[in-house]
Amino acid sequence: MSIEDRVRAATRARVDLVRDIRPLALPEDLLFSDDRLGRARNSRGARQVRTWLIPLTVAAVIVALALTLAAVRQAAAPRGEPPPAAPPAVLAKIPRYYAVISSDHATRDFTIVDDRTGKKVVDFAAPGGGTLDSVSASADDKTFILTFRMLVNQDTMRWTVTKIRLFPHPGLVFNEADIAVQDTDNAVHLNAYLSPDGREVAVEFERLTGTTVTTTIQSYHATQSSPGPLRTWTTSLHGAAPIGDLSWHGNDQTLEFSTPDAAVTGDRPPAYNRERALTTTAPSGDLMAASRVIFSGPSSLNVFSGPYSPDAVSCAALRITPDGQTAICGTRTGVDVPGARPGCTAGPSLVAYSVRSGQRERILYGFPPCDTGNVVPVWTDTTGSTVVGLFPGTSVRSGAAVLGVLSGHKLYSLPLPVTPVDGTGDGNGIAF
């Protein structure tokens, strides 16, 4: 067979596997679009002006940079300065686009930010008067899943889980699928988590019965035609949420979540220092029976159980690195710690533990004693050497958070042009 015939045969065999493609989305069909970007792109005049402006802008930036450096050399940096902006070499290690739910307006906005430029590439409010609740991202840096809630009547909340995809032109997103979640009656909150390959979504919601909290996790195909939950697991706990921060592990078949490492006693909140793994092919049923413990931080580290110790930490959020070797714990500290001298607990920190031994390996970053707040790891690279998270800012006392990236034990700030809805919360309002 000639080489031409081999090319014909191979290419035809390959394209025969392509059968279904998604429907065409023209601007009115696009769920949301940024007309300003579209107009600028279509305007030849604007493009020409932009081209001429480039050298002028570069010159202006150089002059501004020189002036800034001169000023910095003359004045010693005062304590509590915000971390420096992440340089390009650090930015290249993390996903380019991230999604954030913001609370700058009366309605919550959904924004996708290009962390290379610091600009919003997509910005919209929840359609139809709904409230945006959570966002998560797949590994391809352009697919996200959002949850909305809408009060239908006094007793009924309707939840919507929507998968969107950033269009090749930044500024446009394509509504890829609305996943029909089921059996969510009386849920008090609902979060959705997209698998790294974007094919499955894990939906987690809570119901309250008196002081007992019941958590349900469902898995769905992340497609418009998803027939319903593939699996469902539930668990309950008296007095507190039975699980904390859910996330997918890198292999697309495992969900991980944290659980309290001690019983809930009195008014002390539990510390979620124990991580469990759930294989999504496990049969439906009891969540704890279907999952297994993969990491258990020493219970003595729980600031909320036992006497106060300056070394004690409690994980505000726990994340296992994709290689499965390291548990990254973003700590929670505060003046509310029983037994602590008000205002002088150990500062919040980002700590790496060995998953195998449960022992602390290193402190990736620590804030000074007496600082308060949470560190919430949002994204980590394979080994935990680069971690993106929400960190207490210099204005931590006013409650504002800094979106930062930790690389080489240095903390750099990332552009955050909006106020995240959960600036000091669990990280469900921001996704890389």
Binding site: V18, N42, D140
Partner: protein, 176 residues
């Protein structure tokens, strides 16, 4: 004058034409893009983008019959841009993981076809475009030249060099 639906007639006309073109040709264009870029998801993005471009420029299109040619050129150009951008990204950052869907799809093909496709991916973009347009779409040199926006002579030499390179890669078993 506006139609009852509130759309200007020209806009409605563009929408209908572009939707009809999509119905008729999108699958074929996605198949072409899959051969150029390797994975279906990216190929669909590229084709969507080409149709969106056509829709936005519909009023400037002088001959509606040439829309398919415009789309085909647009897809070829966007595939080329995709390779350039990916190459630049590889130089400074981690290469995105191989597309799982593509890997699964190609696993269903025979060994001989997989080797040819892998070898095709190793060609320079222009050679790959010329070979695919000539031997998958069975275009003439003139048609391929129009789609690629280059001269007929360049298509001829790119095709010839592409085939020679394919033969060498397959003979040496140098498929990576």
């Amino acid at each position: 004058m506006k139609s009852p639906s509130g759309e200007l007639p020209v806009l409605r006309d563009a929408r209908q034409h572009v939707a009809a073109l999509y119905q008729a040709h999108a699958l074929g264009l996605v198949k072409l893009a899959v051969l150029m870029v390797g994975d279906q998801s990216t190929a669909e993005d590229i084709v969507q983008d080409a149709f969106l471009g056509l829709y936005r420029r519909w009023s400037a299109l002088r001959d509606a019959d040439k829309a398919l040619g415009y789309l085909r050129s647009s897809v070829v150009n966007k595939c080329r841009t995709f390779h350039r951008v990916r190459f630049r990204r590889q130089a400074v950052t981690l290469d995105p993981p191989a597309d799982a869907v593509s890997a699964e799809a190609e696993a269903m093909l025979g060994e001989a076809h997989r080797e040819v496709l892998a070898a095709l991916r190793q060609l320079a973009p222009r050679q790959r475009e010329a070979v695919v347009l000539r031997y998958y779409l069975e275009m003439t040199e003139e048609e391929a030249a129009q789609a690629m926006g280059i001269s007929r002579g360049t298509v001829k030499s790119a095709t010839s060099r592409g085939l020679a390179a394919l033969a060498r890669i397959l003979k040496e078993g140098g498929v990576r």
